[in-house]
């Protein structure tokens, strides 16, 4: 089984949470909100491109005119493989946390 790095995991989750509204800025802001990593948040683009290359995430161009000077905005969604991966991560986490005694 292929493990994802922590940041890849966080990215998958963020995209999932944002649903139809996942594009560059919103993903970055989501990560900033969730992790407090304000300064280095720009570094998400390298793992994001890796996720895309490995087939967990796909891009799609928005239809209709945008305010980006003619360029369409790029939206990110999970592929079925990505969704499956996310689910298996959740499973794994559940299993792992189940046996942990209460932490105070």
């Amino acid at each position: 089984m292929h493990f994802l790095s922590r940041i890849e995991e966080i990215l998958l989750l963020s995209i999932w949470k944002l649903k139809d509204n996942a594009f560059g800025i919103s993903i970055r802001e989501q990560v900033e909100k969730d992790t407090d990593a304000k300064w280095l948040s720009g570094a998400i683009y390298a793992p994001l491109s890796r996720l895309k290359k490995n087939g967990y995430v796909k891009t799609k161009r928005a239809k209709g005119s945008t305010d980006l000077g003619g360029r369409p905005r790029i939206y990110y969604t999970l592929t079925p493989l990505g969704e499956k991966k996310l689910r298996s991560i959740q499973e794994l986490n559940k299993v792992m946390w189940a046996e942990v005694p209460d932490m105070k």
């Binding site: 594009f23 560059g24 800025i25 970055r28 300064w39 280095l40 720009g42 570094a43 683009y45 390298a46 793992p47 994001l48 491109s49 890796r50 895309k52 891009t59 161009r61 980006l68 000077g69 360029r71 369409p72 905005r73 790029i74 990110y76």
Partner: protein
């Protein structure tokens, strides 16, 4: 609000690292964040922040796309560091060689940047022109940097293509009284029209650009001058006593950078000149040397300015004037390179030196890179096991190339750090050793950062390219079978490197030899006058009585038994000023007048300079007419006028004054050997005396000088006695050649040193490769000498090949340089042979270490394992 767009270069960089959609997202993000930041922090900070954010995004993407993730990069760096550590001596040679090359390159590039950045801080630099004059008849034209005072106002009012024009007049030293009433000499004082601020990007920190230079006796001072005279007080409104006139400070000018020809420190309003009554009115025929600058209106043609100016000149002067006068419009960027115009100011640059430095910088860097290549590849045997294992485990060639390039980039970075340390240690001492003025400005250091990064990348990639290609090409089976260790590797490329390295070194050696030969030639040439034991001292400009007291001074000087001759002159050899006059034969028309260099002097000039009289006689006080109406010509002048028997002929000089030729002197060099001897006329005219020349006995010069100083101070009243030997003054003409010589010798030494490092590495490689061969030879009865000779023969072959490449290149470039001189040495084969021999000798010494080691080794050690 302006739409912000990511710059093209950033977009290009992004597109290299990732796909189109990602680029688009990143672009949107960065542009969005910029607009947010701008609202909060302002444009400039947002811009800086934006670049920072860009790097945070691009660096991981770059690592991702080149190395496939951070982990691989970490691994490469780890292996590289291990390799550096494991072979300390080798790494030291490698890094040290590169560091020296980089330092030298940086030092030279700083000079080049300084030279080519002249005047580039003026915003309108592309449209600023200066009006120069060509004056004289055909064949004897002279160029002047300044022009008549009437030109600038006419440009402003009559020519619509001119946006604005202004005059700047450079002054001789002036005396300023400070608050303690001490007299301080200041140069760099300019009179200027108020419009200068519309032409040049001079920044007024206080005061109003439009009004500060309007009224007479207003001055603008730089921060430096303000600090010097007013300390930390507010300068505006203060007064300053300059040459016994009181001036009011109306503006504070930001200190100017050093890379400009107009390095003013005090600007005096131009109207002051008019108030002082120097020019009550300014007709066009009023001669002047005002530096006149103008800004061409955008989208206007320069030619139409020139045409209109010529028409104005015609209208306002006569034919006799326009026949001789041509106004030249010189672009601002040409001024730094213009060494011909008289009355010009500022340090002049020589484009030949810029090329020289630039090519030397590149050559030294190339040598250093070659070295790196040679040393890296020569060690490939050590790395074979590593490469083999990597390949077997699945590394492809690209990955190996990346690994070696990472290594070379790392070494380049480490070298650069050492280089910067060296640079900081060396730059001040080197520049002071070279007596150069060009590093003081810190504004150039902004270029330095760019150069440093660029150099790391270029050197890293260039030096790493061949080793990476070479070491990654072997087949793992060959490596594992150790079949390539049998010495079958072709050395051709590396031989080429060594040959080129030595060719460059030979060119540099040759250059050094020729420069020093030319300097020696210039110092030893018979100049036609006796340069020894003549003391020059300026009659102080600031003291008008000094000139009147000259006869008294002369009498007092002559009372000392060691003083042989005293004379006063306008200029002597070694003083870089020239006075030209138009002269015609008696009775000839105006159109036949010719330009001649005039040398007003006093009695005793011929003797104190030791000139040789070839016809007629010297000036003598016994002849009553000599102090007004006699002249001595040099042979050139005789030739120019075409006199058969010059003595007794009459000439007409300015104001219809008539002089009789009483003698002819042999040609002598007043100017440096860069220029030809011009026709010259010596005559007596106390109005033009600028300095005294005193010929003394060489014995007890110290006490004679003390005597002269005492007399000087008694008669002139506490004026300082600043003297200089004529020999020193004359040789200072060759300062820039001496500098070049010094510089070249340093670089030659370094280049040779680096080349030898490379050769040393190569020799060690060859010995390793041929240990067994040498062992067998010895067993079969070869002598140590025989082996050493055999071994050195190969290197000799290469160095000789280097010579063949180097000579034509050197010959061409040296001939170019020698064209600077009107009197120059002939190129003989000897320096060529010498430089080749020196290179060969040094190469053999370097190689012989390994040759002897190999030849004296016991063959048992090398053959036992078979």
């Amino acid at each position: 609000m302006r739409e912000y767009k990511l710059s093209r270069i950033k977009r290009w960089l992004l597109s290299l690292t990732t796909d189109e959609d990602m680029c688009s997202s990143i672009r949107e993000d960065l542009e969005y964040r910029f607009t947010q930041d701008r609202k909060k922090r302002g444009f400039l900070r947002a811009k800086i922040l934006n670049t920072f954010q860009f790097f945070i995004i691009i660096v991981p993407l770059l690592i991702e796309s080149i190395f496939g993730g951070l982990a691989m990069l970490k691994n490469y760096i780890k292996i590289a560091l291990r390799n550096i550590k494991r072979h300390k001596g080798y790494s030291f040679i490698n890094i040290f060689g590169l560091a020296i090359g980089m330092t030298v390159c940086l030092l030279m590039l700083m000079y080049v940047v300084n030279e080519i950045s002249y005047e580039d801080f003026h915003e309108k630099r592309d449209r600023i022109y200066r009006i120069n004059m060509d004056w004289g008849t055909e064949g004897s034209k002279m160029k002047f940097a300044g022009t008549m005072p009437a030109v600038a106002p006419a440009l402003n009012s009559e020519i619509p293509e001119v946006e604005v024009a202004a005059r700047v007049r450079f002054n001789d030293e002036m005396i300023i009284l400070n608050s303690q009433n001490e007299k301080i000499k200041e140069s760099r004082i300019f009179h200027a029209d108020p419009e200068v601020f519309e032409i040049f990007s001079w920044k007024l920190l206080r005061g109003d650009e439009a009004s500060a230079m309007k009224d007479p006796f207003s001055i603008i001072v730089t921060q430096k001058i303000a600090k010097k005279y007013f300390g930390n007080d507010e300068p505006i409104g203060q007064t300053l006593n300059i040459n016994d006139n009181l001036y009011r400070v109306t503006g504070l000018l930001k200190d100017l950078p050093t890379n400009t020809h107009l390095r003013c420190e005090i600007l005096v309003s131009y109207s002051t000149i008019l108030s002082l009554g120097e020019y009550p009115e300014q007709p066009w025929t009023q001669w002047g040397d005002d530096l006149t600058y103008f800004v061409l209106r955008e989208n206007s043609r320069l030619n139409s300015v020139k045409d209109k100016l010529d028409i104005l000149l015609n209208q306002n002067t006569g034919k006799w004037f326009t026949d001789k006068m041509d106004l030249i419009l010189q672009p601002l960027s040409d001024i730094h390179w213009d060494t011909e115009s008289r009355g010009d100011i500022g340090v002049k640059g020589n484009i030949i030196y810029v090329y020289l430095f630039l090519s030397a910088a590149i050559l030294v860097l190339i040598i250093a890179c070659f070295n790196f290549m040679n040393l890296s590849t020569s060690r490939y045997l050590d790395r074979m096991n590593e490469i083999g294992v990597r390949k077997v485990v699945g590394a492809n060639r690209t990955q190996l190339i990346k690994q070696f390039l990472t290594e070379s980039l790392l070494v380049a970075t480490v070298s650069m750090i050492c280089g910067i340390v060296l640079f900081n240690l060396l730059n001040s001492s080197l520049y002071s050793y070279l007596d150069a003025s060009f590093v003081s400005s810190s504004s150039h250091f902004q270029y330095l950062y760019g150069m440093v990064v660029l150099m790391i990348i270029i050197v890293g990639l260039m030096a790493g390219s061949y080793p990476a290609w070479f070491m990654s090409k072997f087949h793992p089976v060959d490596i594992m079978k150790k079949s390539i260790m049998k010495g079958s590797v072709k050395l051709s490329f590396r031989n080429v490197l060594v040959v080129l390295q030595f060719a460059i070194s030979i060119i540099l050696i040759l250059g050094t030899i020729i420069v020093y030969q030319q300097i020696a030639f210039m110092k030893n040439t018979d100049l036609g006058f006796d340069k020894e034991d003549v003391v020059l001292s300026y009659l102080p400009f600031s003291n008008p009585q000094a000139k009147e007291k000259y006869p008294v001074l002369k009498n007092e000087f002559l009372k000392h038994q060691s003083v042989r001759e005293v004379t006063a002159v306008y200029t002597v050899p070694g003083i870089n000023s020239q006075y030209n006059m138009s002269v015609r034969k008696k009775g000839a028309g105006n159109e036949e007048s010719m330009t001649i260099q005039a040398l007003p002097a006093d009695f005793g000039f011929v003797k104190s300079m030791g000139l040789e009289i070839v016809a007629g006689r010297d000036f003598s006080e016994e002849y009553a007419l000599d102090n007004r109406e006699s002249a001595i010509l040099n042979e050139m002048a005789v030739k120019m006028f075409g006199f058969e028997a010059p003595v007794g002929e009459k000439l007409q000089i300015y104001g219809n004054r008539e002089v009789t030729i009483i003698g002819v002197v042999k040609d002598f060099h007043v100017k440096s050997l860069h220029s030809k001897i011009s026709p010259m006329m010596i005559y007596i005219d106390p109005k033009f005396f600028l300095l005294m020349a005193t010929k003394i006995q060489p014995e007890n010069a110290e006490s004679t000088l003390t005597y002269l100083e005492n007399v000087w101070k008694t008669i002139l009243g506490e004026e300082e006695f600043n003297y200089r030997y004529m020999k020193d003054a004359y040789f200072s003409f060759y300062d820039s050649e001496e500098k070049t010589g010094k510089l070249l010798s340093i670089f030659t030494g370094l280049a040779l040193f680096i080349s030898c490092l490379g050769l040393f590495g190569l020799a060690s490689f060859l010995t390793n490769n041929r240990v067994k061969e040498i062992g067998i030879r010895k067993v079969l009865g070869a002598t140590v000498r025989g082996i050493a000779v055999l071994y050195s023969k190969e290197f000799t072959k290469w160095v000789i090949l280097s010579n063949i490449i180097a000579w034509p290149v050197a010959y061409y470039s040296i001939s170019m340089w020698l064209k600077n001189f009107a009197y120059r040495i002939e190129l003989t084969p000897l320096p060529f042979v010498i430089s080749g021999a020196v290179a060969l000798l040094i190469a053999l010494i370097t190689v012989s270490f390994h040759a002897l080691k190999a030849a004296t080794a016991n063959p048992v050690d090398s053959l036992r394992s078979e």
